[in-house]
């Protein structure tokens, strides 16, 4: 199980770092709720707006 954890940790961290470095800079960290029209933590619109 320890080997699995080491593999997952190394692969996961590599993926995070690589993905971060190749992604366009998007400024500060945000939540979908920060965007206009969001009505839920995932950014779903309000029923009255659909």
């Amino acid at each position: 199980m320890r080997t699995v954890y080491i593999i997952v940790l190394v692969l996961g961290l590599t993926a995070i770092v690589t993905q971060h470095l190749i992604s366009p800079s998007t400024g500060r960290a945000v939540s979908p709720e920060d965007f206009g029209g969001a009505c839920a933590p995932c950014g779903a619109p309000c029923p009255s707006k659909r």
């Binding site: 961290l13 400024g27 945000v30 939540s31 979908p32 950014g43």
Partner: protein, 382 residues
């Protein structure tokens, strides 16, 4: 999450620091913090540290929503349930008034409708099969449970499927969020939120008394509840919104699927502004992901600091199957239900949003079904 699913030290192993995994957890956290600080985002570093603290707190307190709810439903024991309400009460003291007062902050709100009810109910089934909820899966997977690593993988997959299903369920209808502060003002909203918690606690205690069960929270649940509540406030202050868990899973899974060639450009969910932005940007620019990473590494550090890490044997295949099915159900349910026990229930109620209580009431029957299904996978009903 019960302690039995955490990796137990191998027979004869003395309690000691696992320097390898402690170093790995600290190094991984330091790398992520350095990356966000290099971009000048101190708040992102604070979110990672907040998540780290939550991972430590959950693991050290063995704070479990899943086991608490199961003990309440099967035996009437209410201590754990009340510990969970302590978290919400502490967080509400800051979240309700600040979210109402400052445009820089917002509460966890969500519409009321079939999607919320179906999602929470499904999540309830899944959390009992997986033996961990949103927070529980994170801290036990981080803490060395290989079984919960499986649950986490399928949780992520379920979230991706849920993101594809959510727009169809939203089309079934619903009403806009109902927020206490909109009706009673910021302080009246806080009073209404605390009153709703007091009523829930009274009902829970009454049921426990009627069943002759204990309703006094253990010391670890009281202290853990207060500490987790305070850390939830820290995450709220750093991120501008209440602590949430599962949107990060959805982003991770969808990014991975996109890298494998799947196209989400036609999915309505991923055309909404927030999800679209998250899918295009760095995973370290999503608040939910930042706290999730911190929590995983915090739990890993705490576990490795107290005993040899992940020395336990893999559980039977049936138990792993339950973890996988439970993870899938939780992921799908979390997207339809606007979050898990943290994002929807804790965050929702602590924001004074009615959807938090609706989520809770819908999830409990799901838990009952999940508890009845547990023996099929060799898991106890207790």
């Amino acid at each position: 999450m019960s302690t039995t699913t955490l990796a137990a030290p191998a027979a004869g192993a003395s309690a000691s620091i696992d320097r390898l995994f402690l170093s790995l957890a600290l190094a991984a956290s330091a790398i992520l913090i350095a990356l966000v600080l290099l971009d000048g985002h101190a708040a992102s570093a604070a979110l990672i540290l907040g998540g780290f603290g939550l991972g430590v707190a959950f693991l050290k307190a063995e704070f479990s929503y899943t086991a608490s709810w199961r003990r309440f439903l099967t035996r009437g024991e209410a201590g754990g349930m009340l510990g969970g309400l302590i978290v919400i009460a502490v967080a509400a003291f800051v979240i309700v008034p600040v979210a109402a007062l400052s445009p820089e902050f917002g509460g966890a709100i969500a519409p009321l409708g079939p999607s919320l009810i179906v999602g929470a109910f499904t999540f309830g089934i899944g959390m009992q099969l997986a033996n961990g909820c949103g927070s529980g899966t994170l801290y036990t997977a981080g803490g060395g449970s290989g079984r919960m690593l499986i649950a986490l993988l399928f949780f992520i997959i379920g979230c991706v499927f849920g993101s594809l299903s959510l727009p169809s369920f939203l089309a079934l209808g619903g009403i806009d969020p109902v927020l206490a502060s909109d009706y009673f003002g910021r302080w009246g909203g806080l009073a209404a939120t605390l009153l709703s918690l007091a009523i829930a606690a009274a009902i829970i205690i009454a049921i426990a008394r009627k069943r002759g069960a204990n309703f006094v929270p253990s010391r670890s649940y009281v202290v853990g509840g207060i500490v987790i509540g305070l850390l939830s406030i820290a995450v709220f202050v750093a991120g501008g919104h209440p602590w949430s868990v599962t949107f990060g899973f959805t982003v991770w899974g969808t990014k991975a699927a996109s890298a494998l060639g799947y196209d989400f450009s036609q999915s309505p969910f991923w055309q909404w502004a927030g999800p679209k932005h998250a899918l295009q940007g760095s995973v370290l620019s999503d608040t939910s992901s930042l706290t999730d990473f911190g929590m995983l590494f915090g739990a890993m550090a705490a576990a490795a600091a107290s005993k040899p890490f992940a020395r336990g044997a893999w559980p039977p295949a049936k138990s792993l199957l339950a973890a996988a099915i439970g993870g899938l159900l939780m992921g799908w349910g979390a997207r339809l239900g606007f979050g898990c026990n943290i994002g929807a229930f804790v965050g929702g109620v602590a924001s004074g949003s009615l959807h938090g209580w609706v989520w809770f009431v819908a999830a409990l029957p799901g838990c009952l079904i999940g508890i009845r299904l547990r023996p099929l996978f060799g898991l106890s009903k207790d």
